[in-house]
Every structure is written in C-alpha cells, then in structure tokens.
C-alpha cells in the first residue's frame, strides 16, 4: 500500500466520487448541441449534450466510458456547466488547460473552477493529461464550431 499512497494526489477523493457516481449522465431529449469524442489510444469515450435557455445551459448531459480521470473530469464538467453561458464555459476550458500546463491560477480563477481543482494532481502524470482534457476539448470544439461538430457526430 505504501507505493500506492502517492497515487492519492492523482486520485483525489472527489475524483473517485465523480468516477463512481457520475453526475448528469442521463441523455437529454432535444439537445441544442451534441458532440462525441474519443481517445482511442486509451479507450476513453465521451458524449456531451447541451440545451440552452436564455443563453445559459439549462440542461447538460455527459456520458461515456473510460478511465477514472476522463470520466470524473467529464462529470465535473457537467456539474460546473449548469447555468453557464457559452462564454463562461469557454473560459473554464481555458482555465482547465492552463491548470494542466502547470500555470498558477488566481484565487478568483480557482473559485471559478470549484471542485475541478481536484484534477490538479494529473499534472504530474503527463500521459494522463489528455484523459483529463478529453471532455473539455470536446466542449470547446462543440461551442466553437457547432455545425461541424454536429456533422462529425453524425458521420460516425
């Protein structure tokens, strides 16, 4: 157990909780946006759906399968995105990227990320960063380029 205790940094309590009990993973009825993304190298798959009301995310669904990091990150994304505008969501993507690059974030930026801060430990495991980012990159693609993203989904 000694060797594995170092893993606590990677698998923070909150990460494992989201992995075991993913939030908002029920499919939406008529989403406004939808994207699927995968990392075939490690077998992570994710599907994000968004429904807007008054320019804010009223419904968010994130479902997939994969490792603890990719799936908990996706679940945290769903939780965090509730009620947010496109701009606010894109801002979070930037923050998550910056955190993964090892940049120091300000207190207010950390506030904005909320529980996501728990993903900080991934930085020490560079090959796992792409697991953590999978859903965020997909979210960004979806927000940036809705029609293309939509098409990519239907092409599969």
């Amino acid at each position: 157990m000694r060797a594995l205790s170092e893993l606590d940094e990677l698998y923070e309590e909150i990460i494992l909780d989201h992995y075991r009990n993913p939030r908002n993973n029920r499919e939406l009825d008529a989403p406004d946006l939808e994207i699927e993304a995968d990392n075939p190298f490690c077998g992570d798959e994710i599907k994000i759906q968004l429904k807007f009301e008054d320019d804010r995310a009223a419904g968010v669904s994130v479902a997939g399968r994969g490792c603890a990091i990719s799936q908990s990150s996706a679940s945290l994304l769903a939780e965090l995105s509730q009620g947010r505008t496109r701009e606010e969501m894109k801002n979070s993507v930037t923050l998550v990227r910056r955190m993964m690059r090892g940049e120091e974030l300000s207190d207010s930026e950390l506030d904005d990320l909320g529980d996501l801060e728990a993903l900080r430990g991934v930085r020490k495991y560079p090959v796992r960063i792409k697991c953590a980012l999978l859903s965020w990159v997909a979210l960004e693609d979806m927000l940036d380029d809705y029609p293309a993203a939509r098409q990519q989904v239907s092409e599969r």
């Binding site: 594995l4 893993l7 698998y11 309590e13 075991r20 077998g43 798959e45 490792c67 495991y125």
Partner: protein, 412 residues
C-alpha cells in the same frame, strides 16, 4: 532450460529502479530489452568499423559491408531461409508488410480478387490490405476467431477460394497470444493458388521458426521485439517472387546503372534496399540472433510457456479479472491480456507503474479485435527470456493491491 538469473545479468536496464521499485518489465510484446552483447556490437561498430557499405574499396567500407552481409546470413540461418538474398532489411514489420502491399500485391491484385486475413491481426496487417483492396476493387475477408481465441479454420477453408490472391495472417496474436495453424493456412492458400504472408512479429522472437517448413511466401518481423535495436526489421520472401516484383523505393544502391532516361535494378537483395541502409542496427540484429541461438529457441519457447502457464493460473485468482485468448499455455505465446471488472486498464497501468511494474494498456494496435470483446481497452502482460515467476507474483499481488487501493481510496 534457461538460466534466467544469469540471463538477467546481461540486461543492464533490469538493474534500474522505477518509482523506487525494481523494474518489472512485462511489456515485451511491444518491445524487448537489449542485452549488453547487442549494445556492445553497436558501440564496436561505431568505434571501429563505421563506413558506408557496398561501394567502397577502403578498409572500413569493406569491413562494414562484410559485417552487414554476415548479419544477413545469420538471420537467414535463424529462420532457415534458402539463400541470403531472400532476406531483405526493412525498418520494421510494418514496412515489410507495406513493401509486399506496394509491390507484389499491387502488381497481382485485380478487381474481383480477394485478400484473406484474420480477425486477430495487428493494425499493420490490416490497414495496408484495406487500402490495397479498396484501390483494386478487391475484397478483404476476415477469418473469424472463436470463443477460445482460436481461428475458425472451417470458415477459413470457405473464405479462401479461387479468387484469393493473398492470405495475410499472423503467426502469434499480440493480444490473445494464440498460435495460428500457419501450416494449415499455407496449404489452404497454396491449394487456392494464392500466396501467403506471415506476420511473424510475435513468433520469430519466441519460438523456432523455419520458413521452409512453413512453406510461406513472405514473412515479416522486427528486430526490436527480439533483443535487437529499434529501426530494423526483416522481410523474408521466396527469391522467385522477389525477382519478379517491381522495386519498392528507388534511389542509391538499388540500381546497377542509371542514365538520365532510365535505370536498371540491382540484384537481390539490394533491389529492395534503396539508400544507405541501417547498417549498424542490421549488424546488431546479428548479435541478437546469436544471443537467441545460443539459448536455443526451443528453450526460449519452453521458458515462456512455463511462465505463461503460471501467469494464467495466478491471475485468474483475481476474481474480477477476465483473461482473453486461450487459457491453455501450450496454445499460445507469452502474452496475457485481461480486463478488470472495476478498474479501467489505464488506471491499473498507472497504479502498477508506481510499483515499478510495466504492463501495456489500450488497444494494442488491434482495435477491431479488442472491441469484439466489448471493451475499448485491455491490459496486457507479456513475457520474455528474463522474466521470472516471482515477477508474475509481483504483478498479481500488485493487481490485488490496486484493487484494495481503489476500494478504499476516496472512501477515507
């Protein structure tokens, strides 16, 4: 039998610690470690003989050429090829297969023909044939795999028909470990008038392979999976086929005469070796072949069989684990792929790495096969001459420890 403890002394990397623990290297199907004899050969070449080959009258060039051709002859004897010029140096198994696809197959495949491969191939023995058959309006057929991870040979007999020009099959699966009935496939191919290409990436390093006994037309493998350096592989081909094939890459060394208008091809094997070859790594491959020959390939195979048998037994003690492929070690090479019911392979791999245990996780370059088991990723432990039963114990104990970790962590 192998004297594993003295073998281990030959592998400097095995003295390394990973995350504070002794390295337990169980990723041999991806690439093997290198003994000091192979490393020493590289150093000696660069310190004593290095020069370009084939065209030089000076001593270094003559020595380099001799060493380079001596290495080819060693490989020839190792796989019992009829003549040295039936051994072509390539970069790796993938290039060997592409060479056949670009030359023999493009020249011989017509619309309506088919290529037959198996459902347990590595991407390198799938994608070239997908592209080729698509271009040629030909069909690509897959021999299915049964529940035990073995080829369905009755299906094979039906799939291989009079329009089959090529059968491309692995000798040993890098995921399931299954040894395919390659003699049987060869007979089926030949009686249909087809040629057969054997992906021997996982067989030549691990068991005696005799290309004349198999009676195959093409056979491919990589040095880096058999104690040799990266960047060098082999295509064996029947010389009559090589003679009739157009060249693959064009340039220096593969020609005998060039005018501004035209070129004449060089003799075999040089016709297929354009440009300065990977001289040093070819020579070091000769040293790898020497090392394995000294051990005896029967002994290598028997050692792996024992380790694999032990691993299959022990790992199934972990209840949540499902093992893919044959459960009988005598039907397979030293590869054990598995999934754990509660832990994703990626998390398992990261956790085992904390303990110094290196396994491979993911699709193992055989996505269609892995997905056919209903998963997108698997964990794989693969063995070689320096692995011990104690290392299998460390793996299984490690898995159990990871289980406990994930059961308790986060619940603190």
């Amino acid at each position: 039998m192998l004297d594993v403890q003295s073998i281990r002394q030959d592998f400097p990397i095995l003295a390394r610690k990973v995350n504070g623990n002794p390295l337990v290297y169980l990723d041999n199907a991806a690439t093997t470690q290198k003994p000091r004899q192979v490393i020493r050969t590289l150093v000696d070449f660069y310190q004593q003989h290095n020069a370009n080959v084939h065209r030089g009258v000076h001593t270094l060039s003559i020595e380099s050429t001799d060493l380079y051709e001596e290495a080819r002859a060693k490989v020839q004897r190792f796989i019992n090829a009829p003549v040295p010029e039936s051994v072509i140096w390539t970069r790796n198994t993938s290039e060997s297969i592409n060479l056949v696809a670009y030359t023999w197959a493009r020249a011989n495949l017509q619309a309506g023909d088919n290529v037959v491969t198996t459902a347990m191939e590595h991407h390198s023995n799938i994608v070239p044939w997908q592209q080729l058959t698509r271009q040629a309006c030909a069909e690509l057929r897959y021999i299915p795999v049964d529940d035990d991870g073995l080829l369905q040979m009755d299906a094979a007999a039906n799939l291989i028909d009079e329009r089959t020009r090529l059968v491309a099959a692995t000798h040993v699966s890098n995921v399931l470990g299954s040894i395919t009935p390659i003699h049987h496939l060869t007979r089926l191919a030949h009686s249909a008038g087809a040629v057969i290409m054997v992906d021997a990436a996982q067989s030549v390093p691990h068991m005696p392979v005799d290309v004349q006994a198999i009676d195959c037309d093409f056979l491919a493998f990589s040095a880096h999976k058999m104690l040799g350096p990266t960047g060098i592989g082999v295509l064996y081909a029947r010389p009559e086929l090589l003679d009739a094939m157009p060249p693959f890459m064009y340039g220096g060394d593969m020609i005998i005469e060039v005018t501004y208008e035209d070129a004449r091809w060089n003799d075999l094997p040089y016709k297929f070796e354009a440009g300065t070859p990977n001289i040093a790594d070819a020579i070091a491959t000769g040293a790898a072949v020497d090392y394995l020959s000294n051990l005896g390939m029967e002994n290598v195979q028997e050692h792996e069989r024992q380790i694999t048998e032990y691993a299959l037994r022990r790992i199934r003690e972990v209840e949540a684990v499902t093992v893919f492929g044959p459960h009988d070690a005598s039907l397979k090479g030293g590869v054990v792929s598995f999934v754990h019911g509660n832990i994703h392979p990626h998390d398992l791999g990261t956790a085992l790495d904390r303990m110094g245990i290196a396994i491979r996780t993911g699709h193992h370059c055989a996505m269609p096969l892995v997905r056919s088991y209903g998963v997108v990723a698997a964990a794989r432990a693969s063995f070689y001459i320096y692995n011990t039963k104690e290392e299998v114990d460390l793996l299984v104990d490690g898995i159990l420890e990871v289980e406990r970790y994930f059961a308790h962590a986060g619940a603190k």
